[in-house]
Amino acid sequence: MTAAIRVEDLRKVYSSLTAVDGISFDVAAGEIFGVVGPNGAGKTTTIECLEGLRTPDGGSVRLWNLDPARDGRIVRERIGVQLQNSALPEDIRVWEALDLFSSYYRHPVPWGPLLERLGIAEKRRSAYAHLSGGEKQRLSIALALINDPDLVFLDELTTGLDPQARRSMWDLVRDIRRRGRTVFLTTHFMEEAEQLCDRVLVMDRGRIVALDSPENLVRTLGGETQVLFTVDGKCDLGRLEILPGVKRVAASGGRVTVTGSGDRLVALIVNALDAEGVNFRDLRSEHPNLEDVFLAVTGEVMRD
């Protein structure tokens, strides 16, 4: 895999605040790469340095070996950008915005099919001000894709959208990647990162606290799985406590909770119960998620 993005020791300081404090990472071509972290973690500053909207105070940023701060125009021909807190003029019509942005690029794609694909074709004559939040986001994605970019930046794409709109945004992002493009996104929804990303960079206070696939992050940092079931009659809980990976066993009434870790935890418990001839039902397991990872690595609860 060739690297689409290469960041080395990136630093950005605003007067007294160090927004990004020496981070390094690579993003492979064709990847969906996510940056998660609470507000103020430095996500937006990082993405804006990559887009060439901000000049780093230290370190280097390369997109296909180009410096976005110096070779801005060449880089911007090849990237698509959806910005956080950015709008269009209220009175611009959807088709005019697309037509206008098409004229900025050397090789734009026809915007008609793009509108169809994003499901806002019937809004082409609407003024920007009359679009719903979800429609505005769809339009901003359409504008980000108008130059058929190799690399798409999505900054807080689904913030402010309802869950249904959020899910359909995810489908759009997956669709971009299916077409062979690289996606770099920031989010403060852990579920979003977990659902979408091949790799997730967890950021807090300008630093990288973890970088891996969501599954690996959860496995190595997420802590414990809980297995819950109900037993009819008697059960010797001591047998469960000695199983490899089990940390705690608790029972109240017939309801048993086993806490532990390891990929085979559920299998081991089920086998042990069967061997004992225990009648159990309603067995389910609760796995940690990125939210727990975040808590584990930063000691903080994600702030929405």
Binding site: E51, G52, L53, R73, R76, E77, V81, L83, N85, S86, A87, L88, P89, D91, I92, E96, D99, L100, F101, S103, Y104, Y105, R106, A127, L143
Partner: protein
């Protein structure tokens, strides 16, 4: 170039969809013409050196258009675009930053010119407006005045923290300017004190330059006005270039 024209074209359409900008540039000067032309007519009068009220007012109303476009429309448009992140979005494309600003200047210039043409046509048709200057001189004076006041507008947008303060700042400067400069009422009717204040207002120089060129005065008689306008233009451009923020 293609990018500039396309952006200017879309901006022009957006401009015409905004009733307030449209009103101040294209409609308000006409209303003043109808009002004062209707009251005073355009009979030659010794106060105006043998010219009529409309003959004197028409070039003055052009100054009104230039003032409202520069001090209000441009500064609100630019600071509004900044506040909403529109400038930032444009900057994330291969478009040159200067093109974004040039498109604003172009659109506002064309709109001001359209407002002035409309005004002259109405004054000519309804009140028999007299013209004894040279077309190209008036055009050049009008253009210089526009550039000068547009630069002032960019300066306001650069200094204002947000659209609201740009609006207030624009209004505070605009109203004394239009009432005391002779842009709305002929300066000839002002008492001496007000005339002195009037001399200090930037837009007064636009009024007297355009009125002078309108009756065929040579440029040499308006060196002060030209100097003041070039000064505002230079100061506006230089300071804006230093303090202008994209976000």
């Amino acid at each position: 170039m293609h990018g500039l024209l396309k952006l200017a074209w879309v901006e022009a359409k957006i401009y015409l969809r905004q009733p307030e900008a449209f009103f101040f540039t294209l409609v308000f000067p006409l209303l003043l013409l109808f009002l004062f032309g209707g009251i005073f007519g355009n009979k030659p009068h010794p106060l105006f050196g043998g010219r009529g009220t409309v003959d004197v007012s028409t070039p003055a109303y052009m100054a009104l258009i230039i003032g409202s476009t520069g001090l209000i429309s441009i500064s609100i448009a630019v600071s509004g675009y900044r506040e909403k992140g529109i400038l930032r979005r444009y900057r994330a494309t291969p478009l040159r930053p200067a093109t974004i600003l040039a498109a604003q200047v172009l659109v506002h210039y064309v709109m001001s010119l359209a407002g002035a043409c409309l005004l002259v046509a109405a004054a000519r048709l309804l009140f028999g407006l007299r013209f004894s200057g040279r077309m190209e001189s008036v055009f050049a004076g009008f253009t210089l005045s526009c550039l000068s006041f547009f630069a002032a507008g960019f300066l306001l947008a650069s200094l204002a923290r947000n659209t609201r303060s740009a609006y207030i700042l624009g209004m505070v400067i605009y109203f004394p300017n239009i009432f005391l400069s002779g842009a709305t009422f002929p300066r000839e009717i002002f008492p001496p004190v007000i005339r002195t204040i009037s001399e200090a207002l930037p837009i007064t120089h636009v009024v007297s330059l355009l009125q002078g060129l309108w009756i065929g005065n040579p440029w040499s008689r308006h060196l002060t006005e030209v100097l003041v306008l070039v000064g505002i233009l230079a100061a506006g451009v230089i300071i804006s270039a230093r303090v202008f923020r994209w976000e």
